[in-house]
C-alpha cells in the first residue's frame, strides 16, 4: 500500500506529516512478509465463459501442475484472489464479471486471457461483446494469443507473482480510487440504472481508499437510486432495492 495516500477525515493536527515511506520497520517487515505469502498462495476464480477454459485443465492437472507454485482453483469470488477471464465477454456476462470482481476481497488481481480480453480478438466487430476488459475493471495482466498455450498461462502467473512479491500488483486499488471512471464506462454500456449490490464507495471509505476519482458525476447517478425505496420501487424496475445503502 506504499503508493496510496489514504484520505482520513478529521485527521488530528500533528507537528509534521508522517510520510508513508517512513512507517515503522515492523510494519514494513510485516507488509513484506504478507506480500511474500500472497505471491505464493493464489486462489483462482476461473470465469470460464469463453473458449479459453479448455487450456486450464492441463495447466492445473498433472501435465503442468500449478499447485507447485501455490496456484489452486477456488469456487466463489469470496475465496478467490485472481479473477481469470478466459476469453470474450458479452455485455450480459460482463455484468456478472463486475459483480464477481466486486465481491472478491482485496488485494485481488484480474488476468485477461486471450486476445478477446485485450481488443476483442476475433469478435472485434461484434455488437454484443466487450472489447477491452480493463475499461470496466482494472486488470493486472493479459495473455495474448488465440489460444494461449498453458505455458503462457503459467508465465503470466509467474509474472504476477513477481509483481505481488515486489508489492507492485496494485491495480485493485485503482478501482476504489477511480471508481467513478469505471462506473461511467459500465453505465455507458448498461445504462444509467446500472448498479450492483456491492457498495464500493462504502468499502473505499471504510478502508481509506477514497481518492479524487472515487466519487464523481456517475456515482451521483447511483445516489439517485435512493429515490427507489424498497416498496415504492416500480414493479418492473430491475434489481430494485438491491443496494441497501441506497435505501432511505
Amino acid at each position: 500500500m506504499s503508493d496510496t495516500t489514504p484520505v482520513i477525515p478529521d485527521q488530528p493536527e500533528v507537528c509534521r506529516t508522517v510520510d508513508a515511506e517512513e512507517r515503522g520497520v515492523w510494519r514494513r517487515v510485516m507488509d513484506r512478509f504478507a506480500d511474500h505469502c500472497r505471491a505464493r498462495s493464489l486462489f483462482v476464480l476461473h470465469y470460464c465463459t469463453g473458449c479459453g477454459a479448455i487450456e486450464l485443465p492441463p495447466t492445473i492437472t498433472s501435465r503442468f501442475d500449478m499447485e507447485r507454485v501455490g496456484v489452486s482453483p477456488m469456487v466463489t469470488p469470496r475465496q478467490a484472489d485472481i479473477l481469470l477471464i478466459t476469453g470474450y465477454l458479452s455485455v450480459k456476462t460482463l455484468k456478472r464479471v463486475i459483480l464477481s470482481y466486486e465481491q472478491m476481497q482485496s488485494p485481488k488481481y484480474v488476468l485477461g486471457f486471450g486476445s478477446c480480453t485485450i481488443n476483442g480478438g476475433m469478435y472485434w466487430n461484434s455488437y454484443a461483446t466487450v472489447k477491452r476488459l480493463d475499461q470496466y475493471i482494472p486488470a493486472d495482466g493479459f495473455i495474448a494469443g488465440c489460444m494461449p498455450r498453458p505455458e503462457a498461462v503459467q508465465q503470466v502467473f509467474l509474472d504476477l507473482m513477481k509483481k505481488i512479491d515486489a508489492g507492485q500488483a496494485n491495480a485493485w486499488q485503482d478501482y476504489y480510487l477511480n471508481y467513478d471512471r469505471y462506473l461511467g464506462n459500465q453505465m455507458a454500456l448498461f445504462g444509467e440504472e446500472w448498479h450492483t449490490p456491492v457498495d464500493v464507495i462504502a468499502e473505499a471509505e471504510h478502508y481509506g481508499y477514497v481518492g479524487d476519482g472515487t466519487r464523481g458525476r456517475f456515482t451521483e447517478i447511483l445516489d439517485r437510486h435512493a429515490a427507489y425505496a424498497l416498496r415504492d420501487a416500480p414493479e418492473d424496475y430491475p434489481e430494485r432495492g438491491a443496494n441497501e445503502r441506497l435505501l432511505p
Binding site: 498462495s41 501455490g70 469456487v75
Partner: protein
C-alpha cells in the same frame, strides 16, 4: 506452571502438526494424480495470505462470533485431548466431554454460515449435520464399546491401559472389529470423498465456505488443521495405544490420516441419502458386531 505450559503448548502443537497433516494430505493427493504437489510451507502461505487480505467482508456479528467459537472450540478440545507429555485438563473432562466439545466449533460454524444468508451455505450445513448424524451413529457405538471395554472414559487411563503390554494391549488388538468400524467412521468425520457431500464445490459452491473470505476463510483453514489433528489423535488414543513419546506417537497419527487421504482420492461423491444408508449399514453393523464381542468377553 505445568498447567499453563500445557494450556499454551497443546493448541500450538496441534496447530503445527495439523499444518503438516494438511501438507501430507495435499502431497498425497498430488502424488496419486502424478503431480509434484505444493511446496512445504504452502499451508502456512495460504493461512497468512488469507489473514493478510486487506478487505474483510463480514455478514454481521454472528459471522464474527462464529469464527471465535470455531477457534475457541478447537483450542478447548486440544486442551482436553492428552498427548505424550502433555495431559492438559484431561482429568477434568473425559472422552464424552471431548466428543461434545468438538461439536461446539461445528455449531459455531453452522451459526456463522447461517448468518451469511447464503442458501449454498445453509444447504452445506444441512448436509454437514446430516453427515454428522450418519457417521456419529457408528462412532458412538465405537465409543461406547471402547469405554465399556476399558472400563473408563478417562482418556489418560485409556492410554495407560493400552500401554501396559505393548501392541498386544492396544485397542486395535483387543477389539479389532470396533477399531475397524472406528476407522470407517473417522473417514466420514474427515469429510473426505466419498463423504464430502457438504463441500461439493461443483454442486453447492463449497457449501459452508461459500461466503467465507479473508480471515474468515483463514480461520477455516486453521480449523482444518485442528480437525485433522484431533480426529487422528483421538483415534490413536482410543485404539493405537497413544504413544510413550512423540517419536512413536506422531507416526501413528499420520498413519491414521494417511489411510483416509489415500483412499479418498479414488472415490467420487455419494448422495446425502447414500451416505446415511452406507454409514448406518456397514460401519454401524460392524461396530455393533464389535460391541457384541466386547460385551460377551
Amino acid at each position: 506452571m505445568t498447567l499453563l505450559a500445557d494450556l499454551i503448548l497443546m493448541p500450538l502443537v496441534a496447530f503445527v502438526v495439523g499444518l503438516l497433516l494438511v501438507l501430507m494430505a495435499r502431497r498425497v493427493r498430488a502424488k496419486i494424480e502424478r503431480r509434484v504437489g505444493p511446496p512445504f510451507l504452502q499451508p502456512v502461505y495460504d493461512i497468512v495470505k488469507l489473514y493478510a487480505k486487506k478487505t474483510q467482508v463480514s455478514h454481521g456479528v454472528m459471522h464474527d462470533l462464529a469464527i471465535m467459537m470455531l477457534l475457541g472450540g478447537f483450542i478447548t478440545a486440544e486442551i482436553f485431548l492428552p498427548v505424550p507429555g502433555l495431559d492438559g485438563l484431561a482429568e477434568h473432562g473425559d472422552l464424552i466431554t471431548l466428543v461434545y466439545i468438538m461439536m461446539v466449533p461445528m455449531l459455531g460454524l453452522a451459526l456463522g454460515v447461517g448468518s451469511c444468508a447464503n442458501p449454498n451455505g445453509s444447504i452445506g450445513i444441512s448436509r454437514a449435520l446430516t453427515a454428522m448424524l450418519a457417521y456419529d451413529v457408528p462412532y458412538v457405538v465405537v465409543i461406547v464399546g471402547a469405554c465399556i471395554s476399558y472400563g473408563t472414559t478417562n482418556l489418560i487411563d485409556i492410554v495407560q491401559i493400552q500401554q501396559q503390554g505393548g501392541p498386544a494391549t492396544w485397542g486395535a488388538a483387543t477389539m479389532p472389529i470396533l477399531a475397524f468400524a472406528g476407522l470407517l467412521a473417522t473417514h466420514g468425520m474427515l469429510g473426505k470423498e466419498p463423504f464430502e457431500i457438504y463441500i461439493a464445490p461443483a454442486e453447492i459452491a463449497t457449501g459452508p465456505m461459500t461466503e467465507m473470505s479473508g480471515k474468515y476463510m483463514g480461520a477455516l483453514f486453521v480449523m482444518q488443521c485442528f480437525q485433522l489433528y484431533t480426529v487422528g489423535v483421538l483415534y490413536t488414543t482410543m485404539f493405537l495405544g497413544g504413544g510413550e513419546n512423540w517419536l512413536f506417537f506422531l507416526p501413528k497419527v499420520f498413519a491414521v490420516i494417511f489411510i483416509s487421504v489415500a483412499v479418498t482420492n479414488v472415490y467420487g461423491r455419494y448422495k446425502t441419502d447414500d451416505v446415511i444408508r452406507w454409514m448406518w449399514k456397514w460401519p454401524t453393523g460392524i461396530a455393533l458386531v464389535g460391541l457384541a464381542l466386547v460385551m460377551v468377553r
